[in-house]
Amino acid sequence: MTQLDFSTTLGNAWFPTPTFTASGCASSGRELAQFFDLATIGGVVTKSVMSKARSGRPTPRMAETPSGMLNSIGLQGPGIDEFLAKDVPYLTEQKARIIVSIAGETVEEYAMLARKLRSVSGISAIEVNISCPNVENRGLVFACDPEASRRVIDGVRRTIGGELPIIAKLSPDVTDLVSIARGVVDAGADALALINTVLGMVINLETLRPHLGGKTGGLSGPAIRPIAVRAVYQVHAAMPQVPILGMGGISTGRDALEMIAAGASGVSIGTASFGNPFAIVKVQDELKQLLVAKGFTSLREAIGFAHRPESE
């Protein structure tokens, strides 16, 4: 096997491999440690943490759909303080690289979370999940509103200072993804995470009512991969200099390569881990082999390859 430089960067954060967990799909990391060494993957993206403990949405919280699933977890979690006291030390001890995902209901909550994270050591980057309802604006999801998205990232950027890279995680459920991406980059995001789940619904055939406790849920898994690849391609075309953490239905090395060729600098694996706890390791191994087989000497050369003219 020829030498392959498999490393990647998101903002100023360096990672030895480009394969990450997806937020909300690896819990605190402990649960996966029985299956593989957390230090061997690119990094763990933690589930989105909020300021206070949350119990989330009522059950049922999931419905399987063709080649995908809906979830309506509703950001159940321990709150930032317990998270910092328990989860970060555990991951640090495992020598895992950590990307902390934060979520809030107000611009101020995001800034407050950033403030708490500012001085914590061992964190590689912050992923800002802006697919949350904005309580200050009729529950309209931040990520669906260019101005609100911008303000969240601006608040986090000001609070956190210049060190820690900020990855803004966007929703595909918008008319003009590129303009939202531009807005958050202008506001200080160093990288983008694309895509969060797509809003969906399943009707229960017994009750003939929405199946999920939360009625609607987020669609994930292979079903949405073409949407995710398109989103990454569109945004990379518009802003080739901005690194993208690509996700949505990745479960093989081929899927990861598609995403990287479309413009992603790294990939997160979510739903695939539910079906196969080793999914991330598998994607990582397969991707490495594929890159070598295609004659790449570094991951970097493959990023955005699909945008080059065919003649090359």
Partner: protein, 278 residues
Amino acid sequence: MALINKNAANIFATVVSNKRVGQYHQLIVNIGEQANFCKPGNFVAISVGGENSRMVLRRAFAISRVSTSTTVGGTMELIVAPHGQGSRWLCSAQEGAELDVIVPLGSGFGIPTEPVHVVLVGGGYGSAPLFGLAEVLNARGCRVDMLLGASTASKIYAPMEGKRAVNSLRIYTEDGSMGQAGRVTDPISEMISQSDIAVIYSCGPMAMLSAIDSLTRGTDVVHQCAVEESMACGIGICMTCVLPVATEDGSIKMLRSCIDGPVMDGSHVQWDKVGKAL
């Protein structure tokens, strides 16, 4: 070293046999060494639909019994009800087929250290894990009474050999097609008041578990129940399988039934809050 999912391994396991029993299928699956780690109450998570499957999630099944002394290596028994696409696919698995299994998962039934009087209550295929449990309890010298119920006779799973480990077995069907007509929960109050029952072990539909909880409330009887919630991952990473449970500090938390269960203390589960927002 991992504490959660300890001993769980992802293996390719061969189907040794697949027999139809009433409305269920009894599958014997070779899980080799992993059989040594399985305890009554544990479950497995199985990929369904084969290579080109559009079903992306595993399906959970209780381990009915394990055997470590078979000629083919350690085996486990599953009792599978053909419910939807995934379980139907599993019911059609032929001898020799390979299954992608994560085994074992979840908590097990707590076993009393003293030879106490226990009652095992099973609803439908919920009886499956109770026979393996009965053997363990029986070996501890416990008096084991078993109550099985279902809507109709073909949904009662009660194998001959399983009965050896129990002191008594009563069957209830709603349509009266087998045993007594009625519900498996009907006799419980009387049993509690008339004897020295220490533990009730239960497995079956959530409504049954909740009913048993009402009957044991205010008594000294411990209720250990194996719950069944929709699970996307089975290993604790998705937060879909949660139940409202009272924790030590008195607060109610949404606990994952795949790693903090499926066996839970019935009196801690907040049955009236299941399916509601906290």
